[in-house]
Symmetry: C2
Subunit: 295 residues, 2 copies
């Protein structure tokens, strides 16, 4: 059940992984990504490319995967379809920089097709800063708005709102970060939608690398680092408690290390720690508690 659509998407995602990896290695200068190819117990597999302890990226991963698996009962019920085979191919990436002034970023672009012929695209990119530089956030959102607007003026406002709602920790009353775009179940005419997703994938570096360039040489303190580690535990909470991708991966027998590679290299859970009144840390929390319009 490998359709032409799945094949076309797979070819694009495979090459997207390569080009992103090359640029990230160039940006880091020191760390290289080690590629770990793996096979799915049912059919297909992927390549998990991981860097640890680079000059800029404390941990980072760019995953490509293309898998055909049986939807388990639970997952099928959640997706409101009968249990059947599902093809899933995509790229997902996560970058955890060491410097707390450089934001963590996550992006994912994927194509899914069921045995019954239904298919859809999903994806998005979202930014998780530890310190708020408004210009950086505006730049990030600006790139996604431009990409969206070139395809459909309704996309950006819709996908920006979706992102704010999706990356939200109800128990904390906080967004995971300052958002970006998020979309799922995008289906209709394959050509234009594929073109949109290709543009998204190809724009990731434009959205993120300038932030790395601006901030990664700025010195930071132990206090900055402690705050970063505390915020990273919220990242872990989101991924383990709420993330649908994590759930889908575990439900469909995905490779645990490839799914959990998104988790932060180091995280702190300090009891009831609150930032000082009027601090930069508090300013970030205010924005996480009340998502803002950036562009």
């Amino acid at each position: 059940m490998t359709s032409e659509r799945v094949e076309a998407a797979e070819v694009f995602f495979r090459s997207l992984q390569k080009s992103i990896l090359q640029s990230l290695e160039r940006a880091d200068g020191v760390g290289s990504f080690l590629s770990d190819p793996w096979e799915h117990p049912q059919k297909g597999g992927g390549i998990t490319s991981v860097t640890q302890d680079g000059a800029i990226f404390e941990k980072g991963a760019v995953n490509f995967s293309s898998v055909v698996s049986k939807l388990e009962e639970d997952a099928a019920v959640r997706m409101n379809v009968s249990p059947q085979l599902i093809s899933a191919t995509g790229v997902s990436l996560i970058l955890h920089p060491r410097n707390p002034l450089v934001p963590t970023v996550h992006a994912n672009f994927r194509f899914l097709e069921l045995e019954n012929g239904d298919w859809w695209f999903g994806g998005g990119a979202d930014l998780t800063p530890y310190y708020l530089f408004d210009d950086d956030v505006r730049h990030f959102h600006g790139v996604w708005k431009r990409v969206c607007d070139a395809h459909d003026p309704a996309y950006y406002p819709k996908f920006k709102g979706w992102c704010d709602r999706y990356f939200f920790l109800p128990h904390r009353g906080e967004a995971r970060g300052v958002g970006g775009i998020f979309f799922d179940n995008l289906s209709g005419e394959f050509g234009p939608l594929f073109s949109f997703v290709r543009d998204c994938g190809s724009s990731f570096l434009d959205a993120y690398l300038p932030l790395v360039e601006r901030r990664s040489r700025t010195r930071y303190s132990e206090d900055h680092r402690t705050w970063q580690l505390r915020r990273r535990s919220r990242y872990a909470e989101f991924n383990l408690l709420y993330d649908r991708g994590t759930k889908f991966g575990l439900d469909t027998g995905g490779r645990v290390e490839s799914i959990f590679v998104s988790l932060p290299p180091v995280a702190r859970w300090d009891y009831a720690s609150e930032p000082a009144v009027g601090s930069e840390e508090e300013r970030l929390l205010e924005v996480l508690r009340k998502p803002r319009v950036w562009v």
Copy 2:
């Protein structure tokens, strides 16, 4: 709807928290526990007592709570009862020592009563070592076996097996630690069951403190510490992905910081790290993958 049973249990749990706290402070010598009283949005509240950066305990908490809340639809369905008020009182504690040779420990003893009059006890204690000292594990299990046997010879084998099954991470194919005892829905004649739970609570220090005394002065290396931080991320995975107590707490509007105080102070997620063949770290993993009979 505060029955005599709830009151009796509450009095015991309140005093149990105090006596455990006193002994732990004496054992640590440096760190004291700060008490944070809180109120539940519906009715009741608790006292979360937390220590951070002690001589022995990097993070530790002993919680007392007594809450009356409305069971939400979801939780009621999971418990197979109609939505109604539930009283829950108990003590739960977690100790994360800094020295990787001293195991992490968790214990929880609780009494629950529904508006319809149904009631039950639950609880247990389990050990999570980073390095395996067989004598230590035998001592820990030995205490629980003795306590159980004094009440019912069927208890220990049953509750030991329950513990192994409960504290299990299916995605890792590993137990969280080397177990102990776990029981839930213990109901029947109140007097003898309450006496059993009182004996459990009062035996916690006997089960755990000797291990602290034996190991906390032994020097450890950076490698020991790294391994400890890696294993602690598994602890966080269990608590966030599977723990019913965490779920129950979040579902019934519990206080987030009191629920998440169980999470480790610092944890590492390194990609696909595996212990060296024949190492002490590998020996631990073997036991986690295949729980053992200790006494």
